[in-house]
């Protein structure tokens, strides 16, 4: 049995955001956003840069006061009950967060000292592959190393919930996998993980629950399975060499039948979603012939989150 010091057995969800509105001047960063994060899950807030992910996270962390709506973390108000909440959460910022001249381990040990029952910092550094650069000043660490120090600082206080903002941005593939495994271990040990990401594969691989945000609004929520199999099993992506003639999506839709959704992505690419199979592929190919357009690529694939996002917003979730 673990002995808990705080009130950790209460039943409040990890995070409840209700009708959150945040503006910077004229720009609406978050617009009537509502979402819930269950305890013990990995929840991904997915969206392109500037979608309002970080702003939402920062209201959960108590950095920003909601202009409208409410935010509760572990049942507490992050602004008014800040002092009760902060020891119970771990925060990984998108960048920075350490003195330029401080050594990596010195910084981690410092944050550990602020907590009552910190993790063993040597073990943590070892797990994050920081053992070799423990004496290196923070400013001389690589971007990936700085990020891992940031993650270590978020975990060292043994929080109930961690907020990680773009945890693997700029990491090489191997490091990303190590980080993912660590986040999965956190979930196994009962820590709730809220992460923002603009990587589809990251959300798909890790998350129990995904909230897709675009322009400050929630556009879809669900498990990766629910989101990718929502009524269709496959997608066809068509890219042509020269811009489509006018009315191309309509004409293709007519050629394919009712059950198929055609989304034009740009001048030269279309996305076909629905119960698509090899015969649909053949019909798309025949349509190209009739329309005298030359396919540069024509691919059939299982619908992934990237396609979901494309279909919902008509835009690529480009990085």
């Amino acid at each position: 049995m673990t002995s808990y010091t705080g009130r950790v057995s209460d039943a409040a969800p990890a995070v409840v955001v209700d009708g959150l509105v945040m503006r910077y001047g004229d720009k609406v960063a978050v617009d009537e956003l509502s979402l819930t994060v269950d305890r013990g899950t990995i929840t991904a807030v997915l969206g392109p840069n500037g979608a309002g992910k970080t702003t939402t996270l920062e209201t959960c962390e108590g950095y920003r006061k909601p202009q409208r709506g409410t935010v509760r973390v572990l049942g507490l108000d992050p602004v008014r009950q800040r002092r009760d909440l902060l020891p119970r959460i771990g925060v990984m910022l998108q960048g920075g967060g350490a003195w330029s001249g401080v050594r990596a381990m010195e910084m981690l040990n410092h944050v550990a000292t602020l907590h009552a029952h910190p993790l063993d910092t040597e073990m943590l550094a070892d797990r994050l592959g920081l053992a070799d650069c423990g004496r290196t000043p923070y400013r001389r660490l690589s971007g990936g190393q700085q990020q891992r120090v940031g993650l270590a600082m978020a975990l060292v206080g043994r929080p109930e919930i961690v907020f990680v903002d773009e945890p693997t941005a700029g990491m090489d593939p191997q490091l990303r996998r190590t980080t993912w495994e660590l986040l999965e271990e956190l979930r196994r040990d009962g820590v709730s993980v809220v992460l923002t990401t603009h990587y589809m594969d990251e959300a798909e691989r890790l998350a129990d629950q995904i909230h897709i945000i675009d322009r400050g609004t929630l556009i879809a929520s669900g498990s990766p399975l629910e989101l990718t199999r929502g009524g269709s099993t496959a997608t066809i992506r068509l890219v042509v060499t020269r811009p489509f003639p006018p009315g191309a999506p309509e004409s293709l839709r007519a050629a394919l039948g009712e059950a198929i959704v055609v989304t034009q992505l740009d001048d030269v690419s279309l996305l076909v979603t629905g119960p698509a199979d090899a015969s649909t592929l053949a019909r798309v190919s025949r349509w190209c012939d009739e329309q005298q357009v030359l396919p540069e690529s024509l691919t059939l694939g299982v619908r992934n989150l990237e396609d979901v996002f494309l279909q919902l917003t008509g835009r690529e979730l480009a990085t």
Binding site: M1, T2, S3, Y4, T5, G6, V8, E61, G62, Y63, R83, L86, P87, R88, I89, V91, L93, G95, G96, G97, A98, W99, S100, G101, V102, E106, H110, V111, T113, L114, H115, A116, H117, L119, M123, M153, L155, G157, R158, P159, E160, E185, L186, R188, D189, G190, V191
Partner: protein, 255 residues
């Protein structure tokens, strides 16, 4: 079932431990930085030796021996350099690097952060005092000490300069803070009645004694030349501390 490695066990360390950790961290970082060390120890020692050597050559109107007159002034300069310039520069870059933001989501409360900073300043000032006093004694300094006067002066001056330093750091960008903090330091060192007594400035002395620099310098000299407590200087410093603190509380931006 045994709990996993990361099984939650949250909690804040006792506040005094957090404050001590913060103070020792900040003091270490301050002393590790070459420029800060230059500002804290090297410049004051050079000023002390230079002033004592130079006083014989140029005819300064001093009431006592040069070393007895200058040692308190240089100690005052050291307090000003740490509590104002070093603090402002360090805090400016802490904002820039997101350190203050990061600590803002740690268990350390803002009051604890502030207490840690003040403690770090006092720690560095003690080290500066030891070095400068040793050099001054070697140069034949014979102080007439009022312990109460010196302690109160150091505390009031640290509060005044630290609040002004934070005012600067909390409203300007890091580079602008760096430039402004150094400029103000140089101006006050030259013309702020820190090293030289305000009486040496002629009519202008009536103005500079109301500046935090002049009040600090004069109060330090009272405490180390006359063995007395300069209540006027202490009141002036306290007033600056209150003004600085109020303005800082209103304007300081944490990010």
């Amino acid at each position: 079932m045994s709990a996993g490695t990361f099984a939650p066990r949250p909690g804040a360390a006792p506040l005094h431990r957090q404050v001590l950790a913060q103070a020792s961290m900040e003091a270490r970082l301050m002393l590790r930085n070459g420029e800060q060390l230059l500002l804290a120890v090297v410049i004051p020692v050079i000023v002390l030796i230079g002033a004592v050597e130079g006083a014989d050559r140029i005819d300064l109107d001093l009431s006592g021996r040069p070393i007895d007159e200058f040692a308190p002034g240089v100690l005052a300069l050291a307090v000003m350099s740490t509590a104002f310039t070093s603090l402002a520069i360090a805090t400016g870059f802490e904002r820039r690097y997101g350190v203050i933001k990061r600590l803002g989501s740690s268990p350390l409360p803002r009051t604890g952060l502030l207490a840690g900073k003040v403690l770090a300043l006092l720690l560095v000032e003690v080290l500066q005092g030891v070095v400068i006093t040793a050099v001054a004694l070697a140069l034949g300094w014979e102080p007439d000490l009022s312990v109460v006067g010196v302690l109160l002066t150091v505390i009031a001056a640290t509060a005044a300069f630290a609040s002004l330093g934070l005012l600067l750091a909390g409203s300007l960008r890091a580079e602008a803070t760096l430039a402004a903090a150094n400029l103000v330091y140089l101006l006050l060192m030259a013309g702020g009645a820190v090293v030289l007594p305000s009486t040496a400035y002629g009519g202008f002395g009536d103005v500079v004694r109301w500046l935090p620099s002049g009040a600090l310098g004069d109060a330090m000299r009272s405490g180390l030349i006359d063995g007395a407590v300069d209540w006027t200087g202490l009141v002036v410093l306290t007033a600056w501390a209150v003004v600085g603190a109020v303005l800082t509380a209103r304007t300081f931006k944490w990010e």
